[in-house]
Every structure is written in structure tokens, then in C-alpha cells.
């Protein structure tokens, strides 16, 4: 018998078996703050005592390591029946950046297809309560692979900003996930400003459309200054909102 299917796809479900909850962090629109939200979700859960993995799937522009303050040329995954991600502040963190460093990473669909399967098939997470997976924006190769290959083992968290341009794409993403039987945890409205009419408008549009709202993360300019320092990030409004609002809603929806 000759083959056309990819054997790496067969192992993905076994690699995820040691993880209780897989949370892909996704958005249809770019620039909504997924990377910061993913980092702080992972950090907050770890600070609460959970065992957490964090994976950067933004292969053409990995940047989680910059938020975490990790030099990808100085740290490498350990080779042990696969590769074991290094720990950053108790969070097991995996990224393509360990291999490409800070060099450019121009990939088309074919390359993204290969890297996705390679990373998932060789990464050994071990026993974890949560795996937070940061995604590139949009609904192309990486997000579609996540929906097809790990959608049924996961509960995506959707991030929106307070732009009017984020409303329709966010609702579309939630509906598209539901169409294929993937159950999103809900939508987080990032960069929310109490003094802004648009913030209220965006929130109202989501309520009317019937998407599940997890809560707001307030706009906090200091985050940009704190990138690269987890201790400083812990003092930001964003960390406080993720930990006190978003995490509570996530845990409630997961029945924890």
C-alpha cells in the first residue's frame, strides 16, 4: 500500500493526552493582543499553581519569547524521546524561535503545514493542567490546522480589540468554530477603555450577536514598557484583569 496521509497526524492526540485543557488563543483580526493575552493567561494560571505549557504557533513572526524575556539562542529544548520545552518561570515554553533565532522566517502554506506537524509530533509536554497556544491572526493554514487537528480536544479563547473592524471577524470566527463542533470558551475584549464610546459599542454588538463574553481587559500602556520582564508584567492592569476576571470565567466554564 502506498501513502498519501501524514503519519505525524496520528501522534498528535497522544501528545495532548497528558494535558487536561488545551486553550488555543485565536483571533480573526490582527493586532488585537493575542500574544500578550496568551503570555499572561499562562503566567496567571502558573501563579495560581497550575502546571502550564505555552506554545507559540506564529511561525513567521514568533514573539512570545520576547514577552517572556527569553533569549532563544541561549536556551534550547532538551532532547528526550522528542523535545522537552524549557521552563520559564515554571511555564513550559515551546517556540520555533529556539531553532530560527531572531532571523527572518518567510514561510508559505507548505512550510507552515510541515512545521505545524513537526512541532506537535516531537514536543513532549508531560503532565500539564493547561496548554495555552498563541496563534497568528486570521483563518489560514495554522488556525485551520488547529481546528482540524486539535479542535475537538480544545476550548479556544477568542481575543478581540475594541475596533469596529474587529466585530464581524470575531463573530465569524466564533460561528465558524461552532459550525465544525469546536466549542469556544468565549470572547475577551482586549484594550477596553471605560471612557470610550467605541468600547461600549463593541461590547454591545457582541452581546446582541449571541457570542459568549468572558470579560474585558483594560487598556494599559505600561504593558509595552514591561515586555521582556515577567515581574513587571505582573504589576500591569492587564495581568490583574486576566487573573481576576478572565481566569475566573475560564475556570468556571471548564467546571474547575
Amino acid at each position: 500500500m502506498m501513502f498519501s496521509e501524514d503519519p505525524r497526524e496520528a501522534i498528535i492526540k497522544y501528545r495532548l493526552k497528558t494535558i487536561r485543557y488545551v486553550i488555543p488563543v485565536m483571533s480573526y483580526k490582527g493586532g488585537v493582543g493575542k500574544t500578550i493575552v496568551s503570555s499572561l493567561l499562562a503566567l496567571s494560571l502558573s501563579d495560581l499553581g497550575y502546571r502550564v505549557g505555552l506554545l507559540d504557533l506564529d511561525f513567521t513572526n514568533p514573539s512570545l519569547h520576547r514577552v517572556l524575556g527569553v533569549d532563544p539562542t541561549a536556551t534550547k529544548p532538551r532532547e528526550e524521546k522528542g523535545v522537552v520545552p524549557p521552563e520559564v518561570d515554571r511555564v513550559s515554553f515551546m517556540s520555533l524561535a529556539y531553532y530560527i533565532g531572531e532571523n527572518p522566517a518567510p514561510f508559505r502554506g507548505k512550510e507552515l503545514y510541515e512545521i505545524y506537524r513537526e512541532i506537535f509530533s516531537i514536543t513532549i509536554w508531560g503532565e500539564k493542567d493547561f496548554l495555552i497556544i498563541d496563534h497568528p491572526p486570521g483563518l489560514s493554514d495554522i488556525s485551520l490546522d488547529t481546528i482540524n487537528l486539535i479542535g475537538k480536544y480544545s476550548r479556544p479563547l477568542i481575543v478581540s480589540s475594541v475596533s469596529k473592524l474587529a466585530i464581524t471577524p470575531t463573530i465569524n470566527l466564533v460561528n465558524l468554530l461552532r459550525e465544525v463542533g469546536v466549542d469556544p470558551l468565549g470572547v475577551v475584549i482586549n484594550m477596553y477603555r471605560d471612557d470610550s464610546e467605541i468600547s461600549r459599542e463593541v461590547e454591545e454588538s457582541f452581546r446582541r450577536s449571541g457570542v459568549e463574553l468572558l470579560g474585558r481587559i483594560r487598556y494599559d500602556l505600561s504593558v509595552e514598557r514591561f515586555i521582556g520582564s515577567l515581574n513587571n508584567l505582573r504589576s500591569s492592569l492587564v495581568y490583574r484583569d486576566v487573573r481576576e476576571v478572565i481566569i475566573n470565567e475560564v475556570l468556571k466554564r471548564l467546571g474547575i
Binding site: M1, M2, F3, E5, D6, P7, R8, E9, A10, I11, Y14, P77, E79, E80, K81, G82, V83, L96, Y99, I100, G101, N103, P104, A105, P106, F107, R108, K110, E111, E114, I115, E118, I119, S121, I122, I124
Partner: protein, 133 residues
């Protein structure tokens, strides 16, 4: 230690795939294609596959391996070439061993300088053929 390297993880993919696709069949022979760019240790890979077959009580098939040379084609100027891997620094060979596509971050088309090229052959480990009864 042989069984501790990442060839083990690649072997698990192959064995799990065959186990799921041929449930209840006796596997007699497996032909594996091995991309040169990934620099997989053939001996360790065959050992790992055989060990996994034993551990999962799936039998003891004959395993043959064919090495596939690296061929790249530039999407910009259409030039096709095979990089001389012996001239590439050891630390990059190690990087390509884990993720062959990382080559785009380090090597450019020798004719036009583009990083937008395709790996036509030489990446990965794949199953070429399975013989069963």
C-alpha cells in the same frame, strides 16, 4: 542513550499511524523514506521502530530505509539546487534535524538571494510502503 533522542518521537508517529491504519493485520515489511536534510540517524530510527513494534506487540517487520537527497527550488528565479550539507556549520545541521524548514531562516537562493524557495525533496521521515497480510 539511543532511545532518548528525538528519533524516538518520529518513530512513534510512524508506528502509531501504521497501528491505526492496519488494525488486525500482520505487518511484514515497512519502507521508510529519510530526508537527508533532517540528518536522521538511520540506525537509531530502525531500532526505535523495532522497539515500538515489540512494546506494542505488533510483530517484527522487515524495515528498509531509502535516503532522499535534498533538492531546493527557488520560487522567485526558479533555480533548482542541492545545498552541500558538509559545508553547513554543525549547529545549523542540528537545527535542521529538528525543524528542516528552519533552513529558510539561514540559507538563501545562491542565484537571486531569495529565501522564498521550496524544499522539493530531502525533508522529513515518511512511510513509502507497507507490506502486510
Amino acid at each position: 542513550m539511543w532511545f532518548l533522542v528525538h528519533e524516538w518521537a518520529l518513530s512513534e508517529s510512524i508506528v502509531s499511524y501504521i497501528e491505526e491504519s492496519y488494525r488486525g493485520k500482520k505487518i511484514l515489511e515497512i519502507s521508510i523514506g529519510l530526508g537527508e536534510l533532517q540528518n536522521i540517524d538511520e540506525e537509531i530510527l530502525v531500532f526505535s521502530i523495532k522497539e515500538l513494534f515489540k512494546l506494542r506487540k505488533l510483530g517484527d517487520p522487515k524495515i528498509s530505509v531509502k535516503r532522499i537527497p535534498t533538492k531546493l527550488r527557488c520560487r522567485s528565479c526558479k533555480y533548482t539546487w542541492s545545498p552541500n550539507l558538509s559545508e553547513i556549520p554543525e549547529e545549523l545541521i542540528e537545527v535542521f534535524h529538528f525543524v528542516p524548514e528552519a533552513i529558510h531562516s539561514y540559507l538563501r537562493c545562491p542565484r537571486c538571494g531569495s529565501r522564498d524557495y521550496e524544499i522539493l525533496s530531502g525533508r522529513g521521515v515518511y512511510i513509502e510502503k507497507v507490506v502486510f497480510e
